[in-house]
């Protein structure tokens, strides 16, 4: 029987070189990413375990991003612990509060390449599947065990195949596509599974658009969201890590999939999708919610805070004003994105339109800082989760959408199809 991407990628990290769906394997990790959870939870666990030296300080990335710069004395203390740990352990890869969001800075630093096994202490670590790598999120205890041993056990996931062909219409983004897929699958439709994306649409997508899709596979419960390496990914990895050796991974033709889904965007053109409160799987065509008043519009996060997201927002906001009853907050995914947006003139456009442009942080997406919602407030957001209370007060509501839909909504003050503002 042939092997899926997940089986092949995990197999190369086991001692025996084998991995089949359903089996439990011990695998060696190529890179572990940890953020504030290092200081708050992992360091105390390492102490309890009696671990003095971590397994390999060159294979760990530490990022201070969730509350960056520190939003209160507690997050400040966590950042202090992280900085001390990085020094004590001689960790090579460290991003302090001036870098950006972990899932963006890790690929920017060239720390993921095809075939890798990357683990992050964050559920959106599925993002790196866009780079033809096996990546998933685990939490504090597993991260501590990896820091101690460099290894971790995994149940090799069953895989489902989603083949996508056709063009995304103007102003319709990969975010709309993944919101539709998550809504079709349901919040646990891919629980424990690997989602493999195939087809010409994914093959021709930009790195940023691919990252958005793999990022949100976890919202359907998936363990990972994997893609083949396309030209954009190959160029990215070659530019960012020129000395690295790697071989793209492809599934066997006779690999076994528990589900096969075909999406034809030419036969059934996709509309902009908005996920209604309080579930990312609650996606509806924008026409069903157009006209709904919002208090805040947010563009940012590991899902949609990249340059192409800011570019489309700038196109919509150019020469227009943010509606007087709405505050538009834009948070770039990284410092690099910030600088690129500055040079491209987008920030000028945003500020002229009356938006707030912040430093890079997870910030508003997790109800942390720089855009927390008050009681009864409604936010349209380019982020990944609209659980009750996710972005602030339990009585606030979050509608998930693409950066284009968020920008159009900010201009009109009510949820708006971005195609109306072309």
């Amino acid at each position: 029987m042939g092997k899926t991407l997940a089986e092949k990628m995990l197999a190369t990290h086991t001692e025996k070189g084998k991995a089949s769906a359903g089996e439990i394997v011990d695998a060696s990790i190529d890179l572990l990413m940890v953020h504030e959870v290092l200081g708050s939870r992992i360091i105390p666990i390492l102490k309890e375990m009696g671990v003095k030296k971590i397994w390999d300080p060159t294979k760990v990335l530490v990022v201070n991003d969730h509350w960056a710069p520190a939003s209160d004395t507690q997050s400040a203390e966590i950042h202090i612990r992280n900085r001390q740990f990085v020094k004590e352990q001689g960790i090579t890869h460290f991003c302090d509060v001036n870098c950006g969001i972990c899932h963006q800075v890790l690929p920017e630093m060239g720390l993921v390449k095809p075939g890798d096994l990357v683990i992050g202490s964050d559920s959106h670590s599925t993002t790196y599947g866009a780079f033809n790598a096996f990546s998933t999120g685990l939490a504090a205890t597993d991260s501590a065990l990896i820091l101690a041993t460099g290894k971790c056990w995994f149940r090799v996931p069953e895989s489902m195949k989603i083949r996508i062909k056709g063009q995304l219409p103007e102003m319709v983004m990969s975010k709309d596509l993944i919101l539709k897929i998550v809504s079709d699958l349901g919040v646990n439709g891919a629980n424990y599974r690997s989602i493999e994306f195939h087809g010409p649409t994914v093959e021709s997508m930009s790195v940023a658009s691919r990252m958005t899709m793999c990022n949100m596979t976890v919202e359907a419960g998936a363990k990972c969201g994997l893609m083949m390496a396309n030209d954009a990914v190959k160029e990215w990895v070659t530019t960012r890590n020129p000395s690295a050796q790697w071989t793209p991974v492809a599934p066997d033709k006779d690999a076994h999939y528990v589900a096969d889904i075909d999406i034809d965007l030419d036969a059934e053109p996709l509309d902009p999708i908005v996920a209604l409160p309080h579930s990312p799987a609650n996606g509806k065509p924008v026409s069903e919610v157009e006209g709904l008043h919002v208090d805040q519009a947010f563009i940012g996060s590991c899902t949609n805070g990249r340059l192409e997201d800011l570019e489309i927002a700038a196109r919509i906001l150019k020469g227009r004003k943010v509606h007087q009853d709405v505050r538009l907050i834009i948070t770039p995914a990284s410092q690099e994105t910030y600088v690129d947006a500055l040079r491209a003139g987008y920030i000028d456009t945003f500020l002229s339109a009356g938006a707030v442009f912040t430093n890079s942080t997870c910030g508003a997406c997790i109800g942390g800082h720089l855009g927390v919602l008050g009681p009864g407030e409604i936010c349209i957001s380019s982020t990944n989760r609209n659980f009750r209370g996710r972005m602030g007060h339990p009585d606030s509501k979050v509608y998930l959408a693409s950066p284009a839909t968020v920008a159009a909504t900010a201009v009109k003050g009510v949820i708006t199809d971005p195609r109306r503002l072309i």
């Binding site: 439990i24 504030e36 959870v37 708050s40 939870r41 666990i45 309890e48 375990m49 009696g50 969730h66 509350w67 209160d72 507690q74 997050s75 203390e77 966590i78 202490s121 964050d122 559920s123 670590s125 999120g137 685990l138 939490a139 504090a140 205890t141 597993d142 501590a144 065990l145 101690a148 056990w153 919040v187 646990n188 629980n191 424990y192 419960g221 363990k223 579930s279 997790i366 109800g367 942390g368 927390v372 989760r385 659980f387 009750r388 209370g389 996710r390 602030g392 339990p394």
Partner: protein, 172 residues
């Protein structure tokens, strides 16, 4: 030989619905609290604000499908264990919550149709090893797929850290 950590659990049921996500268990804004006893005061604050005040040792969380979806935060099972919750029974779990609960030594059992048979406040006797539940009020018995050997080993050790130390000791 069974460790004491896996003795049967008797406690009152706290009933929840489907898709209880990690923000309902513990909101993101409390994650910077370094003291778990402080954080635990906010467990289930949105769906059941009285939970942390009224929960008793060995009480049992009973839920529908996809319990614990969303964030990877280990704080979600950890605050429940901090409050003395004896185990979580659900029709299904999100993978991260399931793994995290076992890692911190909180037993989790998948029991089909559990929310159809159990009412809020009923007294349950749960045999973790057999994955069996007896409802005291009705006498009904429910059961699910038993936990795998590896999961039982981790739970018996008291969680993945204790398990790691035990395995390390045994190799010395």
């Amino acid at each position: 030989m069974m460790s004491t950590s896996l003795k049967p659990v008797r406690g009152r049921a706290w009933l929840f619905g489907d898709n209880v996500d990690t923000d309902q268990i513990i909101q993101g804004r409390y994650l910077t609290l370094l003291d778990y006893s402080e954080m635990a005061k906010h467990a289930f604050e949105i769906p059941r604000p009285e939970f942390s005040r009224n929960v008793r040792k060995n009480d049992i969380v009973v839920a529908g499908n996809n319990f614990g979806g969303g964030s990877s935060r280990e704080e979600a099972p950890r605050v429940l264990s901090q409050l003395g919750v004896g185990c979580v029974l659900a029709q299904s779990f999100a993978r991260l919550f399931y793994r995290n609960a076992i890692n911190i030594g909180l037993p989790v059992l998948m029991i089909p149709n559990v929310t159809h048979s159990v009412n809020d406040g009923m007294t349950l006797d749960v045999n973790i090893i057999k994955s069996a539940v007896i409802i005291k009020e009705t006498g009904e018995t429910l059961s699910g797929q038993p936990l795998s050997r590896m999961v039982l080993d981790i739970l018996q050790a008291g969680g993945a850290v204790a398990w790691f130390r035990k395995v390390k000791e045994s190799r010395k």
